[in-house]
Symmetry: C2
Subunit: 279 residues, 2 copies
């Protein structure tokens, strides 16, 4: 049995809800349902009463709760001790695309710090092409970039799926500038390819350095932008932005964690890879 089941169980018990637990542990709700069911199947008795307001522990569930808290705590203590003893070594030089850094990394790095409290870590953002160069020059250990990557030179592991969206001001007219990151950004390349395929080869491109800047300008009616849905939503808020999916095949992007094929991953790096498994 996997201790992940117990961690999921504790998350549900703690939040009092399957869906809240799913958010807390960064996975989809159906996943929590499945894990709790596995746990219940294994033990042969229900641990939660489900109802309107979420989930409440049954008597049997409380009994499990006592054991689970103890077991998980001891397990994590042991894990920390061992990871510590294994030697954390050098700082991990990490890179990521602007949007990934903004939306995906916070939760990820938080989990990483929980497992390697002492591990030093640096982060540099930039477009895919630049990050790959930095990795190749060994100035970064690893980075989150958009697929595909050259399999002969790099190893990689799938990290996230992003759906690219066209972001416009709600009152905007069409045929304005494309607001984008500087050249080398793969999202920008997607946008340009899409425009070309539509015959808009003359669209002006305005380069900007930050996502906030781009979205601000879009809101101000200067033009439109291409960004992952997750990132656009994060800054959506009250503002009058309209999101429409970038049509296939331009809209789907896989973000991978990438490193040099001859680079020996440090322990923090391996742990980071492990954390990517459930997202």
């Amino acid at each position: 049995m996997d201790i992940n089941l117990l961690k999921t169980f504790l998350a549900v018990a703690g939040t009092g809800s399957f869906s809240a637990a799913a958010q807390e542990i960064h996975c989809v709700q159906s996943n929590v349902t499945a894990r709790i069911r596995r746990l219940e199947q294994h033990l042969g008795k229900a641990v939660f009463e489900r109802g309107r307001g979420g989930a409440r522990l049954t008597d049997f569930g409380s009994r499990l709760h006592a054991h689970a808290e103890d077991l998980v705590a001891r397990f994590e203590a042991a894990e920390r001790d061992l990871l510590d003893a294994a030697g954390t070594s050098a700082p991990l030089k990490l890179g990521a695309m602007e949007t990934t850094a903004a939306v995906r990394l916070p939760a990820l790095l938080k989990s990483l710090k929980r497992k390697h409290p002492g591990a030093p870590l640096s982060l540099r953002t930039g477009p895919t092409a630049e990050l790959l160069s930095l990795i190749w020059e060994r100035k970064l250990d690893t980075a989150f970039v958009a697929a595909p990557v050259d399999e002969d030179r790099f190893r990689h592991k799938l990290a996230f799926h992003e759906d690219l969206m066209v972001v416009r001001s709600s009152e905007s007219q069409s045929d304005q500038s494309l607001l984008a990151f500087r050249s080398g950004c793969s999202y920008r390349a997607r946008g340009e390819n899409w425009l070309a395929s539509e015959g808009h080869s003359d669209t002006e491109i305005v380069e900007m350095g930050t996502l906030e800047g781009i979205l601000g300008c879009v809101e101000a009616g200067m033009g439109f932008a291409v960004a992952p849905e997750s990132a656009a939503r994060k800054f959506h808020g009250i503002s009058g932005l309209t999101l429409t999916p970038l049509p296939a095949p331009y809209g789907d992007v896989e973000v991978h964690l990438v490193w040099r094929i001859d680079h020996k991953p440090a322990q923090v790096h391996v742990t980071l890879c492990e954390l990517l498994q459930t997202r």
Copy 2:
């Protein structure tokens, strides 16, 4: 992480060898290798020094060993407490083919008893057809029988693969009697089908009740028999028996654990299913 990894680790540490550990925990050796590697990958450091005489704990491995013993013990204690609290309930009425009972069940039931020390359990042996009838009449909860089973009436879970062998006396001549269990035995049916396909429709069939009896008579030169390799080997020992595989498609048998489609499995039953996963 799965506690199975820790159990595997303890088995290796205890026996001092990957292959011995594999036997102890009933799995193939490459499996142990893979699990230990997973563990080492997770922790980032080798836990065993491998060499001629097997495996010895590294310093780091000893550190893990201390934690692992504690964690596994606590985990199993908690599990026992919870399984106990869930209520063991009625005795499990189990059936199995003669050969399965002889060769496969001992290890399996031992593991089962470890998890449900108090669970009462009865075992009845018989050929596939008879066992299925007993299940249908609700005189058995579940049984190990040869595939295929009627999916509309039964649920099932794959338990073992068996390779059927023709067992002859080493000095025997061909065209003797087929020594077999009483009618309803699916292995016997396989043997008969094979004989028929070879044109030996006139072979005399001698019915016997036990595997030892059959193999004894084969050794005495009375005829030949059809039996799973695992069972034949168990009684092989010093005796002068020759095993040749029953040709395809007669030779491959899947043994499944089967129960009535409308039967609600008790907890012992569920645990038994879980134990089947790794064999």
